[in-house]
Each structure stands twice: as structure tokens, then as C-alpha cells.
Symmetry: none
Subunit: 208 residues, 4 copies
């Protein structure tokens, strides 16, 4: 086995390019064929390389999948954080986040699909879901941050932030899933409706 496996200090340019190419192919194949259907053969074929190349650059299929998740998650989180950093009120952040994520989904459906496929299917050797908790956790914390802000500013009524975050996350992901399954569906209109739903669900009671 060569030094690459250590993944350590310096990766050559070719090394980086190849890994990126393989990851990109993996994302597309997973998005199309599902986690279960994404064999190394298919990924290699999509990338126009031989199967052995993948094994050369990745210790195992698991490592490839983990790299895929890492890249997508990084991108998504960066995007989410970025999309709300300039909003002033918690309500605006809330609404902005939903609309922005919808925009991101429209631009990168394969990534979102692949992330979903892997995190709901990939398992550790012991049979447990590899990304059971952690994968969502990072995003849940970001969402909870929005609600904490609203609670702090007094914009939002009292509610369990974890439950709201789980619900929020589910609603956004399934908006995507529904859109992916129903090509004609209007994603932006859906997002706008969804934003309404959460604004109403979180805001303080109207004064009597």
C-alpha cells in the first residue's frame, strides 16, 4: 500500500484532481441509482476510469463515501451559514434560510440526493447507521441557533428548539424529495409556503 492512504500532509495535484473526479462521479451515480445501486463499477464507468483507480485513491468504498459526505456537508453548511449571516431579525433569518436552501437545492440536486442516500443507508460494520446522528447534528445545531436568536430577541414564542429544528430540517429535506420526485412541482412556491408555515409556528401570540 502506498503512502496516499495516510491521507496526511501533501497530496499531489493529480491525487487531488483524481479524488475530486471520483467523488463527483460517486455523487452523480448515487443520486441516480441510489446508495444500494452505486457500485464501484458504475462509479468508475461514469468517471471513465478503471475500477482499480478508485481502490488506489481510496482505501475502501467506505472511505470514498465518507469523503463524499464530507465534501457535500462542508458545502451545504457553508452555504447555510452564508445565506443568513446578514439578516437582522430572527424571523428574517428563518425565512431567508428556507428560501436560500431551496435555491441551493435547485442548483445542486445531486449533492442533496446523494447526501440523503448515504446518510440514510450507509452502515458501519456493526450494522448501525454510519451517519445516524452526527450528520444531522451539525445542521440541527445551526437551526437551533436561529431559534435561540429569536428567543433571545423575543421575536419567537416559547417552544422546544430541538423539536422545531428537527421539524424544520425534515420539512426542508422533504420539500426537496417531493420536488425530486415530482419534476413539475414549483420549488420556490413551496419554499415560500414553508417559510410562512415556520414563521407562523414560531412567532409570538398576537396580542389579545
Amino acid at each position: 500500500m502506498s503512502a496516499r492512504a495516510a491521507g496526511g500532509d501533501k497530496q499531489s495535484f493529480i491525487e487531488q484532481a483524481r479524488r475530486a473526479q471520483i467523488v463527483a462521479s460517486a455523487i452523480k451515480v448515487i443520486a441516480e441509482a441510489g446508495y444500494g445501486g452505486a457500485s464501484l463499477s458504475l462509479i468508475a464507468e461514469h468517471a471513465g476510469i478503471s475500477k482499480g483507480v478508485i481502490s488506489y485513491h481510496f482505501t475502501s468504498k467506505s472511505e470514498l463515501m465518507e469523503e463524499v459526505v464530507r465534501r457535500i456537508l462542508k458545502e451545504v453548511v457553508e452555504f447555510v451559514v452564508d445565506s443568513v449571516k446578514d439578516e437582522a431579525s430572527a424571523t428574517a433569518v428563518l425565512r431567508g434560510q428556507i428560501l436560500a436552501v431551496a435555491g441551493h437545492m435547485r442548483e445542486r440536486p445531486a449533492e442533496i440526493m446523494a447526501l440523503h442516500e448515504i446518510s440514510s443507508n450507509m452502515r458501519a460494520p456493526d450494522g448501525s447507521l454510519r451517519y445516524g446522528i452526527e450528520a444531522a447534528e451539525e445542521i440541527l445545531r445551526l437551526l437551533e441557533g436561529i431559534y435561540e436568536m429569536g428567543h433571545h430577541t423575543g421575536e419567537f414564542r416559547e417552544f422546544d428548539r430541538r423539536v422545531m429544528a428537527v421539524t424544520h430540517n425534515a420539512a426542508v429535506i422533504d420539500m426537496f424529495a417531493y420536488w425530486a420526485t415530482h419534476p413539475g412541482h414549483d420549488l420556490d412556491a413551496h419554499a415560500a409556503e414553508l417559510a410562512d408555515i415556520f414563521v407562523r409556528a414560531t412567532r409570538k401570540e398576537s396580542p389579545a
Copy 2:
């Protein structure tokens, strides 16, 4: 070919019992090992029978999976319909449905897990998701029925019923997923919070 294939009205008692036993084992194995990990070997082992028995009672693995879905879906839909049929207002139906489903999930987690696994992973020979749209559609229609009622009675504000139903469904499923992943999580409290969320999201504006 055995009598079952004819699909005729009467199956022997043993036939019914075996099919039920195999379906039950399949549900447990899928819930534990995931759709991809649920091999006929594992299912047979769990049922304490030989692999051939499954092939004897089911034409193919697909047929077994479809039977699993059919049984669970029937149970779930019956339950959902039953749980709300006596409520008077749409708001009560809405709240009641969420609480009742949570109760059902607490009682039958494996079924819900298996249904989710199969419907998000099983694919037709052509590569498309076997239960892509139709499976959810039935439930979405039921949920839309609740919102239609609320619109009719004037309890609910105007909103897109399909978006609300998709969101509602996602929220409930992910409540389950979160609970399944976090054993210590309080499912009933989550359900109560969720009911609040949807009641607020759907109700008419408070008068100024």
C-alpha cells in the same frame, strides 16, 4: 408452483402462518439491518427456517417486500383513519392525528422503520424507486383531507394544502427517525410540540 400463486381466496392455515411469520421476520431484519442488509439468508435465519422456505412461499424477494409494504401500509392507514374519525373540529383532528401516530410509532417502531427503508430504497428493475410516489400519495391525500376540512369549516387560514401535507408528513416521519436514533428522546412530548406547531401554522390570524 404452490397454491398461493393462484392468489386464490383460500390459503391453508399453515401457508398463512408461514407467510405471516416470514413477513414478521423480514420487518425485524429490515428494521435492524436496513433494506440493503436484509438478505434472504438473514431473514430465514431470524425466522429459524431454511432459505428455501421463503422461496417456496414467495415467488421472489420483491414479492416478499411488496407483501411487507402492503401489510404495514394497511395497518398504518387503518390506524390513522381510525384515530381521527371521532374528532369534531379540524383542529382536533390535526392534533389528534399527530398524537395518535406517535403512539402507533411507539408501539410498532419496526414496522415504521421497515416501511421507511423499503419505500426509500426498493427499486424496480428499471432502476426507478418502486414506491416513489404512490406510497406517499395515499397518506398525503389523507392529510390533505384534514386541511380541506379545516378550510371548509373556516378554522384554517388559506394555504397550499399539498405543501402543508408534505411538511406534516415529513415532520411526523422525522419525529420517528429522531426518536429511533435517540432512544432517550421523549416521543410524546415531541408529538405534543409538533401538534402545537401545526395548529399555529394552520389557524386563522388572531383578530387584531
Copy 3:
């Protein structure tokens, strides 16, 4: 195991009828699906009985196949013998046999097909063809009898009777095979041509 296996003295009427029914179904299935495709399931299904019945009446699949061969061969040989017994000259017998066999083939194609399938495919446990030599041998002897008669009467020129019989048999069987594959082919015209061929191939030289 019951007494039936011994095949001995007395078989009940039902026993006989069942065996005949199963043999008949086997013949049809083999003719349609080939020896390799003729599973006990298919045969049972065709007969409208359960698979177990076959095992009840026949010790093994081999025994069933042997019974099939026995019945068909008996019928064919009787027919062949019968069809030529009244002819006076060897030439007439030769011509008559070919025409008569063609007629028989038209009436019982499944039997001929099945006989051919079994004798060219069924193997003994040691891997050798079960009906390699004997099956054809009986027929070859009958054909040699015709040539011997012609040699005795002086109608036929000198030739190797075994080679002629093998050729004759092959020609007749392949006439059937060609007809079976080409439904529009004129079997009777073929037989007439074939008779001409063998009459010319066997007759004494025309005097100079």
C-alpha cells in the same frame, strides 16, 4: 416407501391412470420446453396435480423419463413394424416405411420430439448418455431388416447395411426436425423425395 416402487405384479386402475397422465404431461412439456426445461414442477402444473404426486408414482425423475421412453418407443416400433408388414418387395417396404413414418410424425409430433430430446440429453449418474446406443439400436435393427430383405431378394446393390440404416434413420429424424422448425414445410413432399433418394441409393445398377 410404498409397494408401487417395485413396479411389480398388480397396479391398481388409479395407479395406471395416474402414471399414464403424468407420462402424457411429461411428453408435452418436454416437447415444448426441451429436456432441460422439463422440471417436475412444470410437468405437475401441466397435469394439474401437485409435484408430490409424481414422486409418489415414480421413484425418481429418471424413472419417469424411462417410462416415457418405453411408451413412446413401444408405440413407434409397433407402428413401424405394422406399416411395412404387408409390403411385398423390399423396395416397397423401404418406400412405405418412410412415408408411413412421416405420417406418424404428423400425428404425434410431441412424442417424436420428446423421444429425441430425452435420448439425446438424458444422462446416467456417471455422465454417459442414458440412451446412447440402445434406443437407436432397436430401430436400426429393424431398418437393417429391410435392407437384408433387399439383399436377399437381389433388389438392392451391395452396401454396408449398418451405414445405410444409420443414414436412413438420421434422414427420417431430421426430416421431422426440419418440419418441426419450419411449420410451413411440406412434410409429405419431403417424405416422397426422401423415399426416392433411398430407393436410388439402394437399387442395383441399371443394366448397361
Copy 4:
């Protein structure tokens, strides 16, 4: 998927060698164990390789079988054509073809056996014989060519060329089959007798 699938012009040397080796093993196993007995296990064992190697070089068992047929048929047809191309009269071609084919059969019995096994047993997914008509058709046309020549030159009497070709083909094949079953049989003597038979069956009537 390996390069072979593309069907491209160039296969690596190893690829070609392996395919040839596997085809050769397949031929021997089929000749010995019959089409039905020729499992991939047996073929791999005979070749001294693992089962997976066959799957690596051939998409499916069908593809292997088709390659086997292609190679044998090519060889046989080339041989037949070659063996008669220098003969002057149709009668000489006829006699020469039979003797030459017998010689070829003596040299390559396994090929002939395998070709016969596959073409009479291999079936398409729909149950019809894979090589029902076309396989024989090519050879029948070649034989008809001989008769057409004899008709054209006036050497042969009038007869149905298709019937004669079918008979000729059957006679030659069964000569082989008889020899294969009866090791002591004199193949060359048989061929000589057979040539006599067809010369007599086709020649013009002796002048009165």
C-alpha cells in the same frame, strides 16, 4: 465493466488468451458432460481457474455459449469451403465434402459434439431454441450450392435441393454421432459408403 464489453477492435493479449482458454474448456466440458451438465463450475474447474474469471471475461453464460458457437462454426464453415474449392465436377465436390468433413470430425470431435449440443439445447429467454434455424441454415445453403452446381452442369437428376441438403446434413452429423457412440466404428469407411449413397441418389438416370 472491462474493455471487452465495448466490443472494440483491440483486446489485450491476455484477454484474448483467457477467452480462448475458457472457450476451449467449455467445448471440452460440453462434449463430455452435455449442454445441461456444463456448469460454469465445471468449466472453470476444467480450465483451472476460479468461477469468477468466467464472469469477468463473459457477460453471461449465454455470451460464452454464443462465442463457443461462433468459433466452432467459423472453423467448420471455413474447413468445408476449403475442402471442396478445388474440385472440378459437382460429383467430386459432393464426394469430397463428405470425406473431408469426416476427416475434420476425426480431428475435432469435441468441437462437433459441442456445436451439436449447444444448437440442439440452448434456448432463448422466451423458451425457443437459440440456434434453431439460422445455425443450420448457413450449412444448408452451402450444401445446396453443391447441388445447384450439379444441376447446372447436368450431372445431377432433378430433385428438391432443400430436401437433399437436409438429408445430407443429417447423414453427416449422424455419422459423427454414431462414431462418437461406437468408438470402434470405422469413420472413414462410413464416409466412403455415405459418399456412394449420395452420389447414387443424385446422379442422372443411366441411359436406357
